[in-house]
């Protein structure tokens, strides 16, 4: 009980509450469609990065294949809607459950692999999935799937007049993923995951069931990622294998988390706040030339950060905070 009360101390709540207030105010202050769109993408990738963080950051299993879970969520809810008329609000949980199952099935053989071998295995699994989806005509094949345009209504998960509702749905999804992260962090399972990351052999020798907890982290991470996939399908109203299963998406998800700070609660959020506007603005300003200027900036930034600040942005914030306190 005392532990619980302590966790509600004003200092620990002030930061997140302030960030939440900014997030709520943002679309009212910057209400142009472009600005709201960037806001939606920041929240979506913060959600995806936070989901990735559970497996990649806490459990230390570096995945470059999270697009599989994103695509599973997008395709599951969309197919349930178009073939059976089931609302995406139900479909998104079906997608999350399916993605968790995919994570366990893919994880059983691949979690035996360590380090680079695991990372490459995740790429390979995602590329196989993309190839299969792209070439299966029963689910749209290479042409992809268009979602039916339904009247604007909360129950339809479609809003055509303004993007504002999408913004707040994304915010709610992000907040639930952060709550899940905090809950995992403070429970025994969170410590087990850290132990697995630091030394799997040592963790096993003190009785941590390594495979079981890796699978649990993967399933949770996959389910949250799939919710983002359904959201994307409802937001864009068109999906195909190359937009929801590509390697570049998997890398961006991991990058958001690593740039911000892997294994830290708010790391992915911080990473998304920097990386997504930067990517969007360079793409809007320079992408039209087709010359890849956005790729140059993006690539140079990644190299610079991994060389100069391997701990991510959170480590930088920590240092600034310590300096302020000392002054």
């Amino acid at each position: 009980m005392a532990e619980r009360l302590r966790s509600l101390r004003p200092r620990r709540v002030a930061g997140p509450a302030f960030a939440l207030a900014i997030a709520i105010a943002y679309p009212f202050v910057f209400s142009s469609p472009v600005a709201v769109n960037i806001g939606v993408l920041v929240l979506l990738f913060a959600l995806l990065g936070t989901a990735w963080n559970l497996l990649g950051g806490y459990a230390g299993q570096i995945s470059f294949g999270h697009a599989v879970f994103f695509g599973t969520g997008a395709y599951a809810s969309t197919l349930l809607l178009t073939k059976l008329g089931i609302t995406p609000w139900v479909g998104m949980f079906a997608g999350a459950a399916l993605a968790a199952l995919v994570a366990v099935v893919a994880g059983l053989p691949t979690f035996r692999l360590a380090g680079h071998y695991f990372a490459i295995a995740t790429i390979v699994v995602a590329e196989i999935a993309r190839t299969v989806v792209r070439n299966t005509d029963a689910i749209g094949g290479a042409r992809g799937l268009f979602l039916p345009i339904l009247p604007t209504a909360a129950i339809n998960y479609e809003f055509h007049e303004t993007r504002m509702p999408y913004y707040f749905i994304a915010l709610a999804l992000l907040m639930s993923s952060l709550v899940v992260t905090v809950l995992v962090e403070r429970r025994r399972v969170g410590y087990y995951l850290l132990a697995i990351r630091e030394d799997a052999t040592a963790a096993r020798s003190v009785g941590v069931r390594v495979l079981r907890y890796k699978l649990a982290a993967a399933a949770l991470s996959a389910a949250l990622t799939a919710l983002g996939g359904t959201f994307y399908a409802q937001y864009v109203l068109f999906i195909d294998a190359d937009s929801v299963f590509p390697l570049s998406l998997s890398i961006l998800i991991a990058l958001v988390a690593i740039l911000g700070g892997a294994g830290r609660t708010y790391g992915p959020l911080l990473g998304a706040c920097l990386l997504i506007p930067l990517a969007e603005i360079t793409r809007i300003q320079l992408g039209g030339t087709g010359r890849g200027t956005d790729l140059v900036i993006y690539g140079a930034l990644i190299v610079l950060i991994s060389v100069a600040q391997p701990g991510g942005l959170v480590a930088l914030v920590d240092r600034l905070r310590r300096r302020l306190r000392a002054a």
């Binding site: 570096i62 053989p109 680079h116 490459i120 699994v125 196989i128 010359r291 790729l295 140079a300």
Partner: protein, 286 residues
Amino acid sequence: MEVIAQSAASGLLLGLILALSAAGLALIWGVMDIVNFAHGDFLMLGMFVTFFAWSLLGLDPLVALPGVIITLALVGVVVYFAVIRPVLRGSVLAQIFATFGLGILLRGLAQFFFTPEFRQVGTTSVSGSVAVGPVYLGKPELVAATGAVVVSVLLFGLLNRTTVGTALRATAEDRVAAELMGIDTTRMFALAWAIGTGCVGAAAGLLAIYFPVFPDVGAVFGLLGFVTVALGGFGSIAGAMLAGVLIGVMTSVAGVVIDPAYKFAVAYALYLVVLVLRPRGLLGRG
């Protein structure tokens, strides 16, 4: 049947080049336990160097080959000191992302300077094809594959018959023990990058004889490279070469027998199956 023999033969010729480039990746991976995720983009870079040597200087790809190898080796050394050395003490995450970012940067630069269009080295000293039984082999492909075998033999000689090669292998075996024996491991790491990217340059120069050049050309070859090395076994250059040939033949035959769309998926699936059954790869140690 003839179609399968034909595709197996052309897969073999491509596989020999894939094997050479994978050997370069395996060398770096083995000596310092770093996966160069920019591998495919180094290959792209080498192909562009070959192309411009032909289009601007009028050099035949075979004549330009030593120059391409040296250029890429120099790029490798620069990358080692500028990017890899600073992240050596960092986490595995930082290492993976440093090379990943480098790959994206190289691809972006290629798109920026050369645009995404396809280019092809035009007239070369070889053209036409020869018939071997029922199978037709393109002369450019044959010359490129022969070149890959020659460079591979030279690489083996360098690693197994020279003092420097022995020092490299010692560093790969046990970094600390090598240091105690008086081997300067920083120099060995830089050398591994030079030789590793030099091999990629050789593969690129040979591939460019008949394969089109464009900024994204490294994407598929890079991924196939990782799969090849892991399949061959950690630190085993012979394994990487065996796996390269195997994957070249398999993808080519699968493209005919199953479906062209699934040819790479078959190689990826093979990777998963082999690693699950034999986690250390085909010829891996340990």
